[in-house]
Amino acid sequence: MPETKKQLPLVTESNKAFWEAARRHELVINKNGEWVKASGRGEVFTFCIYRQPFHPAWANDIPYNVAYVKLEEGSLLMTNIVDCENKDIYIGMPVEVVFDDINGEFTLPKFKPVK
């Protein structure tokens, strides 16, 4: 059986600037059609913890979190919270961006608690 891999981000004409910036370890957001650098700080807006896998590639990660972070600039961003136990995540928790180079091609912006 072929190994089931995690899905990679879908890069399109309208979001490729975001993923190119992430590869340079920069977080950018779109403001009125223009990509501008974001502070990288925000807070957890909401989150959930997966207790069962909905995709086989995530089976070994159970339990894992998926969160929406509200950036200082106001945007909501889907992400994972890292460097933190799932039980310690709370809504309103101050977080800052870190960059996870998942392979040679892609970097996922994730967020860790501000210490």
């Binding site: 899905q7 981000p9 890069v11 995709h55 909501l76 889907m78």
Partner: protein
């Protein structure tokens, strides 16, 4: 021009619900159509409109059910498989009849969600997906994120979500055709149930089943020619969170509640009634938290008060706002928005059996599910007997 009371449901056809691996969605649909025609006492040749929705598991073909049932429909239309579309299909049928495009319309939903589920969501090739890259799969995550927000903002307790699950299960325990008829649950069962996407457990999720339903709607004049007492459509409404995207970017995710005000204004405006006039409600319940949130977005409770409202027993048969009287998606059977529409019609006919709301005259039916995310479109239909 108002369509109030101009159209009515005259036929309901429902197959068995549960795991039915030896029937395809087409076959389930044909059975439901024939049952609906028999229920109305209508000849197949009298139907000239067909709007259908294939549920999870898919496979409901275009015209096969029509050929098999001998229905010469000229209006044939498939809509997306989303929980808000049952009520949109009511709106589409009425618009088709208003324009003269059709005289009598069949609305059909058929699914093999239990027997033929699969595809991308459950694995498959690793095609690109940004949510997938973060491990975000299925509508349960949206519901779980919504529940977390609600807990944070208003102190929602798990017991209050449990009260929804228990209330609906008690209804289903009294309904002969409910999948969960024989399975009783207690609050301990709820609190100890397996977590799926925290903070939601298995009993916060709707059922996954096969089954089909067919509903027949026609003009009020024609409706008197059939066997059953007509159930009239007083009004309908549709809203979508895209409408408020510019004003409130958070609303698009509806983590802090559903955008339903336009649906409510349209439907209640046409019907000329208020929420106080509702005798029974059938609200979309893919997840417990969805039902809770709609109690607020339709103005039945104030913001933050729905948890206590449910816990106090208000949704029960003897409560102030009897709701989801078949046990609906959580405990009766999940046919997307058709679960609620079907039970709404039955209540207005007085066919609710042990769960019939006494003397009920007006019923609110709601649906959720849209383009952006599960729940981003809110729809409703108001029925009367």
């Amino acid at each position: 021009m108002s369509t109030k009371d101009k159209y009515a449901f005259v036929g309901v056809g429902l197959t068995k619900l549960g795991k039915i691996p030896d029937m395809t969605p087409d076959e389930l649909a044909i059975q439901a159509i024939n049952l609906a025609l028999a229920d109305a006492g209508m000849k197949p040749s009298e139907v000239d409109g067909y709007i259908y929705q294939q549920g999870i598991g898919g496979g409901l073909g275009d015209t096969m059910p029509l050929q098999m049932a001998g229905i010469p429909a000229s209006l044939i239309c498939q809509v997306a498989s989303l929980g808000s579309y049952a009520n949109m299909m009511v709106a589409m049928a009425i618009c088709a009849m208003e324009s003269g495009m059709a005289k009598t319309v069949l609305l059909v939903h058929a699914a093999s969600a239990a027997s033929r589920r699969g595809g991308g969501m459950m694995g498959g090739p690793p095609i690109a997906s940004t949510p997938g890259a973060y491990g975000w799969y299925g509508p349960g995550a949206t519901a779980a994120c919504m529940a977390h927000r609600y807990m944070h903002l208003y102190g929602l307790k798990r017991e209050q979500l449990g009260a929804i699950a228990l209330t609906l299960r008690e209804y289903a325990n009294q309904r002969p055709d409910a999948i969960m008829r024989d399975k009783k649950i207690t609050m301990d069962d709820y609190l100890n149930a397996r977590m799926v996407v925290e903070p939601l457990c298995l009993l916060d999720f709707c059922l996954v089943n096969d089954g089909a339903v067919a509903l027949i709607i026609t003009s009020a004049e024609r409706a008197c020619n059939y066997k059953k007492k007509p159930v009239y459509v007083m009004g309908y409404g549709i809203d979508h969170s895209l409408r408020v995207m510019n004003k409130s970017p958070e609303a698009i995710h509806h983590f802090d509640g559903f955008v339903a005000s336009k649906a409510k204004e349209e439907a209640f405006g046409t019907a000329g009634i208020t929420v106080k006039d509702i005798d029974v409600a059938e609200m979309y319940d893919a997840f417990t938290i969805f039902l809770l949130s709609q109690l607020e977005s339709y103005g039945i409770c104030k913001k933050g008060e729905a948890g206590a409202f449910v816990e106090a027993g208000n949704l029960k048969l003897n409560g102030s706002f009897p709701s989801n009287t078949s046990g609906t998606g959580l405990s009766w059977g999940y046919l997307m928005g058709f679960t609620q529409l079907t039970e709404g019609i039955r209540q207005m006919r007085g066919e609710g059996g042990a769960c019939q709301v006494k003397d009920a005259e007006i019923c609110l039916v709601t649906g959720l599910g849209g383009m952006v995310d599960n729940g981003s479109a809110a729809t409703c239909t108001i029925l009367r007997r």
